[in-house]
């Protein structure tokens, strides 16, 4: 599903964000990516989304070789991913429903499937009752669930989350991760970046730890990472 082979990323200003990173994530896995601020976690995500291209090495995601992908194939590739960010990235002028439907409307999905699919995912994240609200009428946790619904609405096999709980109260953060956990149980591969160790410790998932752009450890769960 995800394969990084000797990947390095040096930004144009000379910042070395990743150096010689190799890792792979299989279908159906739930992976936490941890590391201090500035470690290169978001750079890792940007390479996954093909927002950035690696300076060296090979990135393969969902069967696409991102080194060789053509510009006009990128939209198709992005439709095979769901993404959520720390800052939600909702459109303030649109209702919850429209924010979610937006992802389908702009990718040529027929209105009939939009009308079926949007209420379904809103139900999934527990926001069916707030469909007509606007983002600023929701709590941070709810806004992130809207973003999650948008990421899931076209049923992607891979869900990527960059610090999804970074702007949310701790109790609500737990809810989000539990939701991701449920989604993973239904077969979706999940990659979640976070630096909240308590959250990681609660779930027995694989943990990839990055620091200064390099892989520090790759453990089956938080405990073994902690000991190792």
């Amino acid at each position: 599903m995800i394969e990084f082979t000797n990947v390095s990323k040096v930004y144009e200003n000379g910042t070395k964000a990743l150096s010689n990173l190799s890792l792979s994530v299989d279908k159906g896995e739930f992976v936490f990516v941890v590391g201090p601020s500035g470690a290169g976690k978001s750079t890792f995500i940007k390479l996954l989304l093909r927002e950035e291209t690696p300076t060296k090495g090979i990135v393969k995601v969902n069967g696409y070789n991102l080194n060789k992908i053509k510009k006009r194939q990128i939209p198709q590739f992005r439709r095979s991913l769901g993404v959520v960010f720390q800052d939600f990235r909702l459109i303030p002028q649109m209702t919850v429903y429209d924010n979610v439907a937006f992802a389908l409307r702009v990718t040529n999905v027929a209105s009939r499937s939009i009308r079926q699919r949007v209420p379904y995912v809103l139900g999934l994240v527990g926001l069916a009752a707030k469909a007509r609200n606007y983002p600023d009428q929701l709590s941070g946790g709810e806004q992130q669930r809207v973003a999650l619904a948008r990421a899931l609405v076209n049923n992607p096999p891979l869900l990527i989350a960059d610090e999804p709980t970074g702007n949310i109260d701790p109790e609500l953060s737990l809810e989000i991760v539990e939701l991701l956990n449920e989604i993973n149980k239904c077969g979706t591969t999940v990659v979640m970046v976070t630096h909240e160790h308590e959250l990681v410790a609660r779930f027995g998932h694989r943990v990839i730890s990055i620091d200064h752009g390099s892989l520090v450890s790759d453990a089956d769960e938080w405990g073994s990472f902690y000991e190792g």
Partner: protein, 308 residues
């Protein structure tokens, strides 16, 4: 592209115009002014063409041949005349034809015949001639053609040329066409820039949406489309307004000309184009022009700044 997407894109295009209404309004205003000026330039030049065309029909150059020119020589002179580049066409006009026409004009009793003292008919006194139609009747062309004709042996120096009015009108028409074209080009550029700036503001106010569209896998075409539609809508609205405005203004102008009893304007009266005759063409031209300017303007900015 599915119907639902087309509906979505159109709706977004209209919404863009509305959300950005202050700028849309401003650019529609400028565009209407530009299109009306463009339309006026075209109308003026069309009218001038009709008037000049009418005057030109009655005006041709006539080069008389010397009386002692033989048929062979006349033919050679004809060949020489045909070589002059400014001449559209020329044809031989024999003394007999001239005579027949004169008789038609003045009646059979006219005394255009040379008679000797005994009253014997010596034949017509009208010389053979070449009638010459020019590409245009500007003074410049006239002078040039006259000079070239005078070089040819056997042509009477007294060459008949079109009237002064025709030359002035023709020169005026050319000036108007030239100035008009320049104005049209400048205004088209201004319109494109204005629209590009309007679209720029919409794109800035929508950059969050655009980044999300990219993230969820919208194609570049899809991302661009609402802005192109926005440009097109602005162009079309402007075209309609300009069309209506021009129609009203044109009718006022023609009425004014017909009521003012100025001498040279008299040539124009009756020949002026009726707006209704060209309304459909004008509207189609405006619609295509307006929409075209809108799309080009939108594209100008999209290509530079949307980085799709």
């Amino acid at each position: 592209m599915k119907g639902s997407s087309m509906g979505y894109l159109l709706k977004t295009g209209f919404k863009n115009v509305y959300m950005n209404r202050l700028m849309s309004f401003a650019s529609i205003g400028v565009l209407v002014a530009c299109l009306m000026l463009i339309g006026s330039a075209i109308l003026l030049s069309m009218n001038m063409q009709v008037i000049v065309g009418a005057v030109e029909d009655e005006n041709e150059m006539v080069a008389f041949l010397d009386m002692d020119v033989s048929d062979d020589q006349a033919r050679q002179i004809g060949d020489e005349i045909a070589k002059i580049p400014e001449i559209a066409e020329s044809y031989f006009y024999s003394s007999e034809e001239a005579w027949a026409e004169e008789q038609k004009k003045w009646g059979a009793a006219s005394a255009m015949v040379e008679v000797d003292v005994d009253g014997n008919d010596l034949g017509p006194i009208l010389p053979d001639a070449y009638r010459i139609k020019l590409n245009d009747v500007s003074q410049e062309t006239l002078d040039s053609v006259t000079n070239q004709l005078l070089q040819i042996d056997g042509i009477d120096p007294d060459i008949r040329t079109p009237s002064q009015e025709a030359t002035i009108l023709s020169d005026l028409e050319r000036a108007i066409s030239t100035v008009g074209s320049v104005i049209v080009v400048i205004l088209a550029v201004v319109s494109v820039v204005i629209i590009a700036n309007t679209i720029k503001i919409t794109i800035f106010s929508r950059r969050k949406e655009i980044s999300i569209m990219r993230l969820v896998g919208a194609t570049n075409t899809f991302i661009k489309m609402p802005f192109l539609i926005e440009g097109m809508i602005i162009g079309l609205i402007s075209a309609l307004l300009a069309f209506g405005g021009l129609w009203i203004a044109y009718n006022y102008a023609t009425q004014f000309i017909m009521q003012s009893p100025s001498s040279w304007l008299e040539i124009a009266v009756g020949k002026l184009i009726d707006f209704r005759d060209i309304a459909t063409r004008m509207l189609a031209g405006f619609a295509i022009g307006g929409a075209g300017l809108g799309v080009v303007g939108a594209n100008l900015f999209i290509r530079r700044h949307l980085k799709v």
